[in-house]
Amino acid sequence: MIKQFIKSREALLVLAILILLGLISSRFSGFIAPRNMASVFQDTSILIMLALGQMVVILTRCIDLSVASNLALTGMVVGLINVAAPGLPVPVLLLVAMSLGAFLGAINGILVWKVDIPPIVVTLGTLTVYRGIIFLISDGAWINAHEMSASFKAFPRYELLGQPVLSWMAVASIILFYLLVVRTPLGRAFYAVGGNPHAAVYTGINVGFTRFMAFVIAGAISGVCGYLWVSRYAVAYVDIAGGFELEVVAACVIGGISIAGGIGTIGGAVLGALFLGIIKNALPVVDISPFWQLAISGSAIIIAVAVNARSERKKGRIILKKAEHA
């Protein structure tokens, strides 16, 4: 068991994160203080939750590029509801956000399942459509902090056992997703569908429906993140989380989730997100311009995918290479 872990991608990623933390603390020792690490975790919570949702989609050989637009749209809708009805309790809003997110995810899922359009095309389309709808419903206006009710803004910051609710929601998501992919038939089906769709059909798995469910789950968690994002930053406008979908995919790739489907773990997705979160939070404190962040995460993606490919290389290709030499 321990031997297996040492050889795994997760171990490599833990090592990379430790080295990263070592480098950062040599420049600024306060960074690895527990209090600061907790705040880094809090700052990365939304990325972690989105990466978990994206992971189940990627496991089924699909990709969801619309998660950030979904987040922004549900965030705006929840914000507008709060402005219109400030008395509505937060759990109701959370439920609304989750259902709306799941609905937007279901639209992606239906197009992939029933109309059989490649997921990248579907979500490329819905990415622009969802973001456009934000403009239509908000008329391009911002919802600012003073328009939101106090309880709306306070929820993610509310401290429970010394940690904010936002962090606890990330922890809860990690546990729920772990149970989902390891302990439920649907979770195992995600792996089966991505690993070998044809074999999955013969084992009685409905491939299309499994993919549909993956999109719904990713959508639901994006919706929840929509509320969390808007309430945490206390602002909602058309462009929030613009381009965040690629950061989410990056977190998954760095976490060792194979874009070809069927391979990946919850631990990997979480570590991949944390890796990006640590870099983002560390750059200002070690006095590197934040403008470096994009190039660093880009390099991290390329290195991660190169490392992953090495361990995933299919044996079947060797035959071809022999044929080439002959």
């Binding site: 973001r131 874009i259 190169a306």
Partner: protein, 336 residues
């Protein structure tokens, strides 16, 4: 689908060339293009002004130039999401050389060289290391634009030499801009490459069955590498035109273009999974997207609403034919 070859499914005669043309994707696009044109002309009195139409071409010429190379890349089963970032990096490099005091010829050479080098970098990662292109180019997209951000931060390069302005602002004759001429020339070149040369046939073969292509003696890796080089080169060309047209470089230049270019290619009838698609289709898709953007602009529709339309168009043009054929198949099944 295994019983497709039973007697009743064999057609009495083959479809003629004319029938195939009528039913083709390109015909559908022509109809849409004409409709968009007519609707635009009816809804705004300013649409048919030649100078306005000429201005409208700038909405798509630069993106379309990249889209031609991207179309070939997608036909071969790969994709390059880093094109917009290459534009940003090439533009930044040109700005850097401009500040160093170099003249227009060197600036153009710099832009094209950086484009080719970026394409080569993608190509090496995909063909030498065998990595999936979608992930590689998501990575290089951050890397290339990230380098622009490191160099420029929140600043901008301005003050390009006045003769540099010709590429994006110059007119060859009357309302015919230099960019439009370039667009037409590249459309012809890529149409010939993809549809009339051995390389083009090989690209289709690779897209349909890379392993089969390899066993038939096609150098799959080398051709894919060339396609990445071409995509990089075209991004460099677009960077020269765009930088010249705007007269400045910011690291956020051409932001989000990759998605618009992929939309253009897919709208043009190229199968995102590889193996089929044509350059005329991409040209038509570019025209449609350009005219829709321009027409909406004349009607004071905000850009983001146009993007809703483009997004819906992308899904609809792919979904409708599929839904139609599914409906037909189920009707046929009921009859049988």
């Amino acid at each position: 689908m295994s019983n497709d070859f039973t007697a009743r499914n064999i057609p009495d005669r083959l479809t003629t060339h004319g029938q195939r043309t009528l039913k083709s994707w390109e015909t559908l696009l022509v109809i849409i293009a004409v409709m968009v044109f007519v609707v635009n002309a009816l809804s705004s009195p300013y649409f048919l002004n030649p100078w306005n139409l000429s201005d409208a071409t700038f909405n798509f010429t630069e993106k379309a130039m990249i889209a031609f190379a991207m179309a070939m890349l997608i036909v071969s089963g790969e994709i390059d999401l880093s094109v917009a970032a290459i534009v940003a990096l090439a533009s930044t490099a040109m700005g850097f050389m401009m500040q160093a005091g170099f003249g227009t010829p060197i600036l153009v050479a710099t832009g094209l060289t950086v484009g080719v080098l970026c394409g080569a970098f993608n190509g090496v990662l995909v063909t030498r290391l065998g990595l999936p292109s979608i992930v590689v180019t998501i990575g290089t997209m951050s890397l290339f634009r990230g380098i622009s951000y490191i160099v420029l931060g929140d600043k901008a390069y301005t003050g390009y030499p006045s003769d540099f302005a010709f590429f994006g602002q110059g007119y060859v004759w009357w309302v015919i801009s230099f960019e439009l001429v370039l667009f037409v020339i590249f459309a012809l070149i890529y149409a010939v490459i993809l549809h009339k040369t051995n390389l083009g046939r090989a690209v289709y073969a690779i897209g349909n069955n890379p392993i089969g292509a390899k066993f038939s003696g096609i150098r799959v890796e080398r051709i894919k590498f060339i396609l990445f080089l071409l995509t990089g080169l075209m991004s460099g060309v677009a960077a020269v035109c765009l930088t010249s047209r705007l007269g400045s470089t910011r690291p956020s230049i051409a932001f989000g273009w990759e998605l618009e270019i992929v939309t253009m290619v897919v709208l043009g009838g190229v199968n995102i999974l590889g193996g089929s698609g044509t350059i005329p289709g991409v040209v038509l898709a570019a025209l449609i997207m350009g005219m829709v953007t321009f027409g909406f602009g004349l009607l004071n529709v905000p850009g983001i609403v146009m993007s809703i339309f483009i997004g819906l168009l992308l899904i609809a043009v792919i979904a409708l034919p599929r839904l139609w054929s599914m409906a037909r198949a189920s009707r046929a099944r009921r009859k049988a």
